[in-house]
Amino acid sequence: MRTLFFLLQKEFRQIFRDPAILRIIFMLPTMQLIIIPMAADFEVKNINLAVADHDHSVYSQQLVQKITSSGYFKLIHYSADYKEAFKEIESDKADIVMEIPVHFERDVVKDDASKLFLSINAVNGMKANLGGAYIQNIIQDFNNEIRVRLVQFPPIPSQTVISTTYSNWFNPFLNYKVFMVPAVLATLLTMVGAFLTALNIVKEKEIGTIEQINVTPIRKHHFILGKLIPFWVLGLVVMTVGLLIMRFVYQIHPVGNIFTIYFFAAIYLLSVLGLGLLISTFADTQQQAMLISFFLMMIFILLGGLFTPIESMPTWVQKIVWLNPVSYFIEVVRMVILKGSGISDIRNHIFIILGFAVVLNGWAVFNYKKTS
């Protein structure tokens, strides 16, 4: 016990002696938590619209006005020339070009039908898809308005019209920040935990001080505990900072119990630290350690459901994702903070993460050798 105490003292001194590392430990979460959620607003809005209007009628004017007043579209070009309008797409200034044909109004009223042409810049597939759906909805609405103006409908419709109402629970205003902030917090904890542990141990290897420790009677588990506990504490501190930012900068009030999150994070950190430890047994230089952890983090975070839903991934990828500790933590944090899930709802997650912690740490301890 005394050995461990002295080791801990040494580790904490080492961490607090290096102001650069310390600054980074606290700046990284703050910067990430402030920048990424602000950036990660995937709501499709601010769609730039260019209109080539060959008709110049009341209808075409009304339609353009209706589209721009929806709030999703910005009119950036209006002319009677399709080629000019299309240039805006080529230079990335416009996302959609709408071409209104000649005699648009006359055709609608007299021939019962007219056709609009929409060219959508589809380099970004999702934006193109949703943008197209929005503008078609608006055109449909406009169409209905015209119809109501021109036709008298009976009180009981002759045709069945199913009306659908929507409600969005847990995030009624569909605010992206509410979705992203908890998950970014989760990835942050992972990065701080794994990176720092791996780098710290490898640094001792690289500058040779590990030899000095190896020749002392310090036991293997003392050494490893001495390395893990400081970062475990730091991880929890970082999480507290993150939770405070979430509460006071983003005004997100966790629906669930905050201690559920701490409880899960405490176990989760064990598995992440184990991962860092494992990486450190494989790497000889800091450069290697950093690249290996970077490589793994990249895969874990991209496949963790932070940006794209896991259910949409192909089945074989979903099987791989079972081995991704980050995905469980992201899921749990979102469940507890947004929906208020309790311990019993996340029971399975807890067992799985415990399993990760045991396996990763066990493997690392097995791999760590005092002799070189």
Binding site: A20, I21, M31, Q32, I35, M38, A39, N46, I89, D92, V108, D112, K115, S119, I120, N121, A122, V123, N124, G125, M126, K127, L130, G132, I135, Q136, F142, N143, I146, Q159, T160, V161, I162, S163, T164, T165, Y166, W169, F170, P172, N175, Y176, F179, T285, Q287, Q288, I292, F295, L302, L303, T308, P309, E311, S312, M313, P314, V317, M335, K339, D345
Partner: protein, 389 residues
């Protein structure tokens, strides 16, 4: 040695930082290659990152929403509602996971975490359908992920409309405005078209800037920098020699990415290949300059890594526009995004590779990159003189 005929003193007379002759320079580059070659793990990862990224982005990450688990609360329990349920569960977007029996079962179902949407069919559904022609349906979405919620509601609505159409005898409404949509450049709406250029920017930043800065700082940290600096090659020459191997490595990565995207992901290179490679080379030099700057202001590898991660990786991911929509960001961030070199490179690659347009569409962005490169080089030279020489 084919460089023998070159005058040894050709570089010495000039006052530029690069001096010491081609031969020494060559020897230094060779030394750096040995360094990289010796460390197989690092090399493996550097070459493996682009491949994994392309595969993950190409096959695993889709914004397409499908197989979402839904629950249905059917309070009407009639033939009509059965028909509708059948139609919904037949759709590939939904995975009919469980049947609820009461309204208060909805909240626990969501809390368990898997259900994304609940379709509520009210008790008088069949009645309304038969007598007043206007039945109602309620869709409750798990709004935690806004885009999934919106998309699911849209899909469900489409299925319901389809059902409605099948009830109504097909008859055409008067005064129709139809619209025809053409998806330009990417008719199948593949995600790959927007991320391949992004991955290129990211990888170049990573291999070139981050690795260079770490390689230099490592020499500082180990103390071998002093040894090198007393060699006849001038400090800046030393540093450039360190950068050359990483530049070559980056070009190998660019080739890997392009080959993978053409042959594995079916993303064609629509524009001029040599222009694309030329622009990539320019961006490589820009990131190199950035790496030099970072190495000149940091003293330990850990700090260099973390600065690179925060100063280059994060901005590249966030501001280049391939993962996050820049146009939705608050204005200060949009302004800030203009100083990130990757943003301009991303635009250039997108324009040339995906849209197939020529140099006349990207000359402005190219000039901006050149300007940034010169500025970064100037800054790092200034720092090197005061710190090392």
């Amino acid at each position: 040695m084919k460089n023998k005929h070159i005058d040894k003193d050709s570089g010495r007379g000039k006052s530029t930082a690069k001096g010491g002759g081609i031969k020494q320079f060559y020897a230094f580059v060779k030394k750096e290659f040995f360094h990289i070659w010796r460390d197989k793990r690092t090399l493996f990862i550097l070459l493996g990152i682009p491949i994994t990224q392309i595969i993950i982005f190409g096959f695993a990450l889709t914004n397409e929403v499908k197989n979402s688990k839904i629950a249905i609360l059917d309070l009407s329990k009639e033939y009509a509602s059965q028909q509708l349920i059948q139609k919904i569960s037949a759709s590939k977007y939904f995975d009919y996971d469980q049947r609820l029996n009461a309204y208060n079962e909805i909240d626990p179902a969501f809390k368990k975490g898997k259900i994304k949407m609940v379709v509520v069919i009210p008790q008088q559904f069949g009645n309304d359908l038969q007598h007043i022609n206007s039945p109602k349906i309620q869709l409750i979405c798990d709004g935690s992920d806004p885009n999934v919620a919106t998309t699911l509601a849209t899909y469900a609505n489409a299925v319901i409309l389809d059902y409605q159409m099948s009830i109504n005898q097909q008859q055409k409404l008067p005064y129709r405005i139809e619209s025809e949509i053409r998806m330009m450049y990417n008719p199948e709406l593949k995600g790959a078209y927007s991320f391949v250029p992004g991955v290129m920017a990211l990888i170049l930043m990573l291999t070139c800037a981050m690795m260079t800065s770490i390689a230099i700082v490592k020499e500082k940290e180990m103390g071998t920098m002093e040894v090198i600096l007393v060699s006849p090659l001038k400090p800046f020459g030393v540093v450039v020699a360190k950068a050359v191997p990483y530049m070559l490595l980056s070009m190998v990565n660019v080739m890997t990415i392009l080959l993978l995207s053409v042959f594995v992901l079916d993303v064609p290179i629509s524009g001029n290949l040599s222009l694309l490679i030329g622009e990539s080379l320019l961006f490589t030099i820009t990131s190199l300059a950035l790496g030099l700057l970072i190495s000149s202001v940091t003293d330990s590898q850990q700090v260099a890594m973390l600065v690179s991660l925060m100063g280059m990786f994060l901005p590249t991911v966030v501001f280049s526009g391939y993962m996050f929509p820049v146009e939705n960001m608050p204005v200060p961030l949009q302004v800030l995004s203009n100083v990130v070199p990757s943003k301009w490179y991303y635009f250039i690659v997108k324009t040339i590779m995906i849209k197939g347009l020529g140099f006349s569409y990207v000359w402005k962005q190219t000039l901006i990159l050149i300007g940034m490169t010169i500025l970064l080089f100037a800054l790092s030279i200034k720092n090197f003189k005061t710190r090392l020489a």
